[in-house]
Amino acid sequence: MGRYLIRRLIQAVFVLVVISAITFFLFWATPANPALLICGKNCNAETVAQVNATYGFDKPLVVQYGQYMQGLVSPGGRTIGSEGNERNCPWPCFGESYQNGIPVWNSIKDAFPATLWLALGAAVLWLVAGVMLGLIAALRKGKFIDKLSVGLALFGVSFPTIVFGYLLLYLFIVKLNWIPFPDTANAALFSVGPVKWLQFYILPWITLALVFAALYTRITRANMIDTMNEDYIRTARAKGLDERTVVFKHGLRSALTPIVTIFGLDVGGLLGGAVITEQIFSITGLGKFSIDSVLSNDLPAIMGVVLFAAIFVVLANIVVDVLYAVIDPRVRLA
């Protein structure tokens, strides 16, 4: 187990290095010119050269990449800025934004809580809704409730998030006035209290959860129908167990195993930001941050957000594999 984890973590680091290299060199392969972006309106050859020297754009790309990675690897971070104006960028140093000079790590730290709340709340919502609907549908297969939930799932999968989100926003905030307009200040649970916090997040949660809930309904239903046809379910009934024990202890346990995998990966993916939902409800999370970074060709910010999101995906993969081995005794970690 310990050796397995160490090997997986080394693999994870390798994956992250590859991702960082791809992102870095892909960025420079585009016609973007950060020096022009930084020097702003009164650009001439002299100021551009100055910017190039300050940011190290005049050095070979490999050297620039090495310097960037040094900030992530070396415990002391690295030194950035022009000569005479040098400052330390402490570990983990993702550099400073070309756009506004703010250290990228600080921006990520500021944006992450909103993304975390959004992802976790939505995850709880879609997991509960999806599994319950799927379970009921499977147990009442062919009945009205089954057809209803399959229909709802189809609706959920095919309804574009951006339309659904704006629809909710228009209906409950603009038209009915049940919920105040989203105010970024309310994203922080501990400073504004649970009521405002809930009001801020409830619509984003529903928006984000819709597609996932629909998918999980379908997966749970299909898995549960398969499982209830298994021989070991017949064995459980033949023992004289009551139907509740058969369904929940013997059936659901097997049916939910694949869900654990998907759930881990989905949540891991969302911790890197939910772009559309954050955009609709003006949540200043990682999704919004990454959109802004990409639109403004802000390389340090792009690198930062890509790597940060990738860490969660890679970790989620490891967690899911370990969990799977815990749930299913047939799976051996090797």
Binding site: Y232, R234, T235, G240, L241, E243, R253
Partner: protein, 356 residues
């Protein structure tokens, strides 16, 4: 219809009633394609301590009948009619909670493939104790002790350690033993074994069958053995029911079926047993054609489309008239065939027996 096999003289029966009596059992499944008539009028009786073999190819209604006795069709779409009397209680009309109290307790079942029949996520020991605890209000330690005892009894080495293993850590033979131990947890008086040795290799098969015989003596339980393996039937049973297309086509004691079979389908089954010392070109005789669709059963004899002996029928039409299951001779040997009994005997001795 009067089809029945009596396993033993009614010696230890209450008020002359057999321990298990199945009367005109019918199991039909409505499907989108039509009604699947899986079992059409099954009758047999069985006493404690005796073994009844139900033989037939896939889809002949063997397993469906046994599931009906377990009441496992209740709550599904299957339509079960007829009567099943077990120790004075009628099972077909019994409510689900009542049936549940019997399952595992009085009637237990050994399933065909123990790998898929045991839950992969639970320890073997826990699956055994669960079977005990559901019917007995006893502490877990008692259940555990009983489980280890039974695992030992069915021949699993170091059962106190194996108790904590998962099914996938057992070999095929050990899983089947564990499955048998699980079925015996509550001392059932009726044990239904659905192809208990089909998934096992022959040496293990012999061990398992011996074990079942020993346990039967020990617990005086009645066993219904469902199989398509006539070798197993010969070794284990006193009486045999041969099923085809959801109907009994021949029944009797095991010697009648093996030495004096009269139904062409039984001949076919006997002819398809592989034998090391078989003479001739060494090819197995298969029964031509395929089993009938249970949705569109032939109007007459269910075996008619595959029967090679129809020219011997006089005064009846195999494709339109269903022959009755009639008793022949003195014993409980019954046959469903339009061919006259004398002629069947002659056919068997002249044409079939030499090639067996």
């Amino acid at each position: 219809m009067t089809e029945s096999v009596t396993s033993a003289p009614p010696a230890d029966t209450r008020a002359g009633k057999p321990f298990l009596e199945v009367k005109d059992l019918q199991v039909h499944f409505p499907t989108d394609d039509g009604m699947v008539r899986a079992v059409n009028g099954l009758n047999f009786t069985l006493e404690r301590g005796k073994t009844l073999g139900i033989v037939g190819e896939s889809g002949s209604g063997k397993s469906v009948s046994s599931l009906a006795i377990m009441g496992l069709h209740k709550g599904s779409k299957a339509k079960v009619t007829g009567e099943i009397w077990l120790d004075g209680a009628e099972l077909v009309g019994m409510s689900v909670p009542e049936m549940r109290a019997l399952r595992g307790q009085q009637v237990a079942m050994i399933f065909q493939d123990p790998l898929s029949a045991m839950h992969p996520f639970f320890r073997v020991g826990d699956q055994l104790t669960e079977a005990f605890l559901v019917h007995n209000d006893a502490p877990k330690a008692v259940a555990k002790k009983r489980a280890i005892e039974l695992l030992d009894r069915v021949g699993i080495p170091s059962p106190d350690k194996r108790f904590f293993d998962y099914p996938h850590q057992f070999s095929g033979g050990m899983r089947q033993r564990a499955m048998i131990a699980m079925a015996l947890m509550c001392d059932p008086s009726l044990l239904i074994a659905d192809e208990p040795t089909t998934a096992l290799d022959v040496t293990v098969q012999a061990q398992i069958l011996d074990l079942m015989k020993d346990l039967q003596k020990e617990f005086n339980s009645a066993i219904i053995l469902i199989t398509h393996d006539l070798g197993v039937v010969a070794k284990m049973t006193e009486n045999v029911v041969v099923m085809y297309g959801g109907r009994v086509v021949e029944s009797g004691n095991v010697r009648d079926i093996f030495y004096r079979p009269e139904m062409p389908y039984t001949w076919g089954l006997l002819g398809s047993i592989p034998r090391v010392n078989r003479s001739g070109d060494g090819r197995l005789k298969s029964i031509r054609g395929t089993p009938p669709s249970l949705i569109n059963l032939p109007k007459g004899c269910p075996f008619q489309p595959r029967c090679d002996y129809q020219e011997h029928v006089e005064g009846a039409n195999c494709s339109t008239e269903l022959p009755e299951l009639l008793q022949i001779g003195q014993e409980q040997h019954r046959v469903r065939c339009h061919i006259k009994s004398e002629e069947r005997r002659q056919l068997f001795t002249e044409q079939i027996k030499p090639s067996l």
